[in-house]
């Protein structure tokens, strides 16, 4: 079976489109998260998405429709805890993450029957991407990339020196909220592709592997996306054969 034949399958097409766009989105956002020392927020939010997906399954709702607002709220909560309660960001992530995963496990215990469905989200299944999820991935990726283009210098300045950025009129609280909300939505979409356990790898690894070698943020943004796509292609081949 050659590559042309493989690409004719609808489920492969959806997997390729959704996977590619999620990969580019994750690697671009991940770069800013790594540079802002917020790498673990992806890990924490993926744990919250586990609880949120359990909530959706528990009430018989489409899990992503529940997960997106819940994880977005959790991301804002993480910011607020670290800002208002004077708790370090990593501790705030730990608190929200623990509540998310514990909530998921409690709901799984209370239910009879959706455990198998729920636990399939732990490791994801890229070949089971639905049409809606593929469309969502494309729309989200376009949103994230346009946001990065339009807010490039604001993101740059806030990541380099947040206090100074404030003195040049940049609304750093808004930039932080924007970054975490986009991360929250990306994490929910990535859960279907790689699963709860490995979302942080999708966010962190391309940025960490490349920022030691490239000395320019724009080059880095281009290369992390390409690098992640190349890896994705290898993963597809591995999956299929």
């Amino acid at each position: 079976m050659d590559i042309i034949q493989i690409l004719q399958y609808a489920f492969i097409q959806k997997a390729f489109i959704a996977g590619s766009f999620v990969a580019i989105t994750c690697s671009s956002l991940g770069l800013f998260l790594v540079l802002r020392k917020m790498s673990l927020i992806g890990d924490g939010l993926s744990h919250v998405s586990f609880g949120a997906i359990a909530l959706g399954l528990f009430f018989g709702l489409y899990p992503f429709y529940v997960a997106v607002p819940v994880v977005v709220l959790a991301s804002i909560l993480i910011l607020k805890i670290s800002e208002k309660a004077k708790v370090y960001g990593d501790a705030a992530i730990g608190i929200v993450s623990a509540v998310g995963i514990a909530g998921g496990v409690i709901l799984a215990s209370l239910s009879n029957g959706f455990n198998v469905d729920l636990f399939s989200y732990l490791f994801g299944n890229i070949l089971a991407i639905s049409f809606n999820e593929a469309v969502l991935s494309v729309v989200l990726s376009a949103t994230v990339l346009l946001t990065i283009i339009f807010f490039y210098w604001d993101l740059f300045s806030a990541a380099f020196d947040e206090e100074y950025a404030k003195t040049t009129g940049i609304k750093t609280n808004f930039i932080n909220t924007l970054l975490t909300v986009l991360t929250a939505i990306t994490v929910v979409l990535s859960v279907k592709v790689v699963g709860v356990m490995l979302v942080s790898a999708l966010l962190i690894l391309p940025a960490v592997l490349l920022y030691k070698f490239l000395k320019n943020l724009k080059q880095l943004l281009s290369w992390v996306g390409l690098f992640r796509l190349y890896r994705l292609f290898l993963e597809y081949c591995f999956h299929f054969f």
Binding site: F150, S157, A165, Y211, L217
Partner: protein
């Protein structure tokens, strides 16, 4: 005279600790103010309060006659923070990109950088004698070189008010002289108002025309010439230090 910074009954607390208590002063256009005081006396806190970076308890802080809460004309302000605070040392930012951050205050969203901006940055780096550092990563520079780059960033928007927090600590004597000469040039030729936090008391006396001495509360604010005879600060300095700061004895 134009009022640039007007502070009335300013108090700042960190939790239960009061960092500044009931501070009032008025800085006018073209002033070169030396902000001095002991470690922990509240100098940096005062600078940050003026810049709107801290929650404050004050009747009013006016910047260019606008209340700090609604102030939005950030291109009129330049700020050089205390060394090593806040800067992300692993960030892949080149010197010219860092200096460019200083002109973002004059850009409206979405912020677009054009050739003219890059050219302006080139000229600024040349005028400060650091154009050889242009393409280098900020993290690859020495402390003194970083300090010069951050000064370039602070003055990139050609601000009317420049707040500098211990800018000369990492500089060698030669660079220090050049640095203060540049400040003097900005102050005398462009009428830039300067607030300089420093422990280089000798330079304060040489270049500043006013002195603001804080140790949690305001102990002295006025012309350098009035500093030495002032009885209020008698307890704060040795007589010889007062003479070094005053710098005007014949």
């Amino acid at each position: 005279m134009d009022s640039i910074v007007e502070v009335e009954n300013l108090s700042v607390c960190y939790g239960a600790t009061e960092a500044l208590n009931n501070i009032s002063f008025n800085i006018e256009r073209g002033d070169f103010v030396g902000l001095v005081g002991p470690n922990g006396g509240g100098k940096t806190t005062l600078a940050k309060a003026i810049l709107g970076l801290l929650p404050i308890d004050s009747e009013k802080i006016l910047l260019f006659n606008q209340a700090i809460e609604v102030f939005g004309d950030f291109k009129r302000i330049g700020y050089l923070p205390q060394k090593h605070t806040g800067i992300n040392q692993l960030f892949p930012a080149s010197v010219e990109e860092v200096v460019l951050l200083g002109i973002l205050s004059s850009k409206k969203w979405p912020k677009k950088i054009n050739q003219e901006d890059w050219h302006r940055i080139d000229e600024l780096l040349k005028s400060l004698g650091i154009s050889n550092l242009k393409g280098k990563l900020i993290s690859d520079l020495s402390g003194g070189q970083q300090q010069k780059v951050l000064l370039a960033r602070a003055i990139a928007s050609e601000p009317e008010l420049l707040i500098l927090d211990e800018p000369s600590t990492a500089l060698d004597p030669n660079s220090r002289e050049q640095f203060f000469a540049k400040l003097k040039e900005l102050n005398s030729q462009k009428k830039t108002t300067i607030i300089l936090i420093t422990h280089d008391t000798g330079y304060v006396g040489k270049y500043a025309n006013k002195l603001l001495y804080v140790d949690r509360k305001l102990l002295f604010f006025g012309g350098i010439a009035d500093f030495c005879p002032s009885g209020e600060i008698e307890s704060c300095f040795e007589k010889s230090d007062k003479h070094i700061i005053w710098h005007q004895h014949k």
